[in-house]
């Protein structure tokens, strides 16, 4: 849908390249964890592009020198030392960050006008100018991604470099990746590439459970993984096998809203009708006969 798609060329013989073709403009990033070497170049590129400072590293007898995602750390390689049933040791490294769900729980949960935007190309982006700092998005996200900056009271996460993608560039992490483990393109192309890679793994390696992680519970994602073992995504630092927007969030933002609106409007209409039908309770100046008898006794 690029407006710069060529329609006609002057003095050109033959057909115009690309004319009458249209393709899905949804974008996707593909992370092939089977070729990730854990170099963290993507982490560095992310910090550089977004202008965030490097953080102090921690040492905990593992390669996990950054413990978690932070409000100014969108992109983190999670290191898992994995021992298979036969005792073979392997790294399971996974680049963690926002998956840009087609059905984003963060966006569903957000109460602030314009604080979360989903673009037609699939990118889900936080607009900190409109963020009120309530962190409902944190509750809505099934992947534990959005992070709160307590100083500014704004929530941040990976933008999929919407600023770069809007200018026709790939995300910074993809540009920096030295092994070709990160790919960026249309969602269709990335799915195609992912499945080819899975076929290759199944055919030429022992990873017969290889598969594409594009969870349908959240409508598919615009960041996908190729995993050695799609049957157990949890072993890649808790990647959920069937993520969904939490059911309480769906009830909260769905039926409960309608029920509540109905009850509140109904309540106001109800008391109004009561007033129109019965009017106020006024103290009548004259006392009724049977009450007057009681009063005679008790009156001081």
């Amino acid at each position: 849908m690029s407006t710069l798609q060529i329609k006609a060329i002057s003095g050109h013989s033959g057909t115009v390249a690309g004319a009458n073709t249209s393709r899905d403009y949804a974008v996707a990033k593909l992370i092939d964890v089977t070729t990730c070497i854990g170099c963290k170049a993507c982490e560095v590129a992310c910090l550089e592009w977004n202008g965030y400072p490097f953080r102090d590293t921690v040492f905990d007898n593992s390669y996990q020198t950054m413990p978690d995602l932070e409000w100014n750390y969108y992109n983190l390689i999670r290191f898992n030392e994995h021992t298979a049933d036969d005792g073979a040791f392997s790294w399971l490294m996974r680049k963690d960050g926002c998956l840009h769900c087609a059905d984003p729980g963060c966006l569903r949960a957000c109460p602030a006008d314009g604080a979360i935007v989903q673009y037609a190309n699939g990118i889900v982006d936080f607009q900190q100018d409109n963020c009120i700092g309530c962190q409902y998005c944190v509750t809505g996200c099934p992947f534990n991604i959005p992070k709160f900056n307590p100083e500014t009271k704004k929530v941040h996460k990976c933008t999929l470099c919407s600023d770069r993608v809007g200018a026709g560039l790939e995300p910074a992490c993809v540009k920096a990746c030295p092994t070709g483990c990160l790919h960026f393109g249309s969602k269709d192309d990335m799915l195609d590439l992912a499945h080819k890679r899975v076929d290759q793994l199944k055919e030429h390696t022992s990873h017969t459970n290889a598969g594409v992680y594009d969870p349908q519970g959240v409508g598919g994602t615009h960041v996908m993984y190729v995993l050695h073992d799609i049957t157990q995504p949890e072993k890649y630092s808790g990647l959920p096998s069937n993520p969904r927007v939490p059911w309480t969030v769906r009830i909260w933002k769905g039926p409960l809203k309608w029920l509540g609106n109905l009850a509140m409007v109904g309540g106001v209409i109800g008391v109004t009708l009561h007033y129109l039908r019965f009017g106020p309770k006024e103290v009548k100046p004259e006392v009724k006969n049977d009450e007057a008898k009681k009063d005679e006794v008790k009156k001081p």
């Binding site: 700092g133 509750t139 534990n144 969030v249 009850a263 008391v271 106020p280």
Partner: protein
Amino acid sequence: MTHIMRYSLTERIIHWIAGLTYLYELATGLAFYTPHLFWMAGILGGGPTSRYWHPIIGVVFLVAILRMFVMWSRDMRITDVDRRWAKEMDHYIRNEDELMPPAARFNVGQKYFFWVMLWAGIFLLLSGLVLWFPEWIPWNLRWLRYTAILLHEISALLSIGAFIIHVYMGTAMVRGGFTSIIRGEVSPEWAKLHHRLWYEKVSKE
């Protein structure tokens, strides 16, 4: 005896602290509740400001409600008198007050309102603490957050239902009620009609 003191100054002050803080909580809470009312956060200083003050004012509301509990818990106990009164509620709704059994200082409707607001307030604060500081809830306790959002909204809706009836009755329906919570005084006729047992008790004193 031209006037009877129904609410002491302390009672009135605490009532209005609770009432005004509840109104603020209602306005900012409804702004977060639905996009159609988000403009109310704008009127009250903007979304971030409303988000900042909503939990703090909520704590003030709960303190006022708890103070009320200390002050009124004995008066609010539901008794046999109330059960008799509740059976005749239809007459009360139709303004057939002469058919109502006598009520004590508070009738059972007021007592229900008090208990609904107290329990809703407690649940709102407990769930509200989770919503206030979600960053303190570790990922493996995330069900706390999932529960809190539902609990907070259900408690709020219940309290709003009670609040609509309370405001309607206190201002429009029961004439003299609003003056009593402002000036503290009611006429003996009013007391006789609405709270006969209480009237008999105070007129003896």
